[in-house]
Symmetry: C2
Subunit: 241 residues, 2 copies
Amino acid sequence: MPAPMANVSERRFDPPSLAISTVVFALSAGAGNSADDESTADGATLWLPLVRRIREPYRNTWALPGGPIAWNESLEAAARRNLHETTDMTPNYLEQLYAFGGTDRSPDLRVVSIVYWALVRPVEADKAVTGDNVRWFRTGNLPELAFDHRDIVDYAVWRLRNKMEYSRIAQNFLGDTFTLAQLREVYESVIGRRLDPANFRRQMLASNTLIETDQVLAGARHRPPRLYRYKPELAQGSTAS
Amino acid sequence: MPAPMANVSERRFDPPSLAISTVVFALSAGAGNSADDESTADGATLWLPLVRRIREPYRNTWALPGGPIAWNESLEAAARRNLHETTDMTPNYLEQLYAFGGTDRSPDLRVVSIVYWALVRPVEADKAVTGDNVRWFRTGNLPELAFDHRDIVDYAVWRLRNKMEYSRIAQNFLGDTFTLAQLREVYESVIGRRLDPANFRRQMLASNTLIETDQVLAGARHRPPRLYRYKPELAQGSTAS
DNA sequence: ACAAAAGTGTTGTTATTACACCCATGC
DNA sequence: GCATGGGTGTAATAACAACACTTTTGT
């Protein structure tokens, strides 16, 4: 119960308060329950869920899911709990993005936001109950966002693209097994550029992170592609504390 | 004046409070005013300043310089101000490292630390008035640190090494002009590995970030090396807000 | 048979590495 | 002259990119 008798103008001079927000990414498959799904044939697209603010400032404006941090939970736990409370999702991957603490982020309160970014698989993305107050948007076609959330999203997209090039986070968009074409599609839709199937295949196999299963994916009118899975990883998650 | 009548045991259940800390790096030249300067002939070494805690918990233990965030300053400004207050230094480079918010970081208070890391040139490093409460330590030979500061330092070193390989932060350890050997020494002492002088030279020149001056550095008993300077950079600093 | 994507081969280009060798200075 | 690092040359290797070509399925 901090400073119970403080009114708004006095609160302006309190030390900054803390909050958590999360930028969640999913690929198009799981975002089918959106209104304007004009998914072009040339590959999947990136989507993220936003929530409508129900109070001032920026009332009715779309914003990143977020909330306060409880006294007995870590930052990551706060992000995870909050995400579940607001969107019913449990992320496959969760990593701290940045702490945003400019003095002019909010018109009245001074709040420092510790922002996480997350990846969810299609199955998980479908769990998000969308409606008037929660909706998926494509990263390329966002509405006006509250606060500096637009900058935050841009930074998160940049980070995702970046990390895609040197790590194996792509697996967090996919199910347990997948074809190399599916894996390639993840890469292509995130970095926004076509990749040579032949070279991509060799790079992935050479990276020694894949296990070839003995199954193939039949049904299409061409040679059935082999299914792969990722090797169990030693340690992927985020940084300590 | 938040919650003025709260005692210690009640404070445990307050929402986390905020603080800023900074890991400052300098190369050996500027750290000569240290006690155990046994700088080996084979290149410079990394140093960082620590301050002695004057209150519980961890009283008398060395810790990262840090402090609270004022209501009207950004996180970066808080780091900069605090660094100046505690060590009289103004960093050449300053970037956010990570927000540490584990629940067990401190025995009593719950505090979230937003940590920055900084680079200072030798001239600036000399401004730090060392004494009983501020001292430079080599990163390879640190004392026991308060809280989780040891983990934080390790992470900062990792980040510095990493960033050294794909960016031009090395310049923040050097003066305006420098020889390629000096630049190489910075790289070598940070990443802890010898580099081929010939190849290093070509890589640096090929990167197209250096300007050749018309001066050389005479005085040594070998061919005088040419002095270079960095091209004025478009934008280097940290991320917004 | 044919279309379409899976999968393999091959070649040219570029980046990296190792190391030989010449250059210019102080002593 | 000679030791010392500055600076250039070069060849072997590895990584990457482009693209031709063969394989296997569904229709």
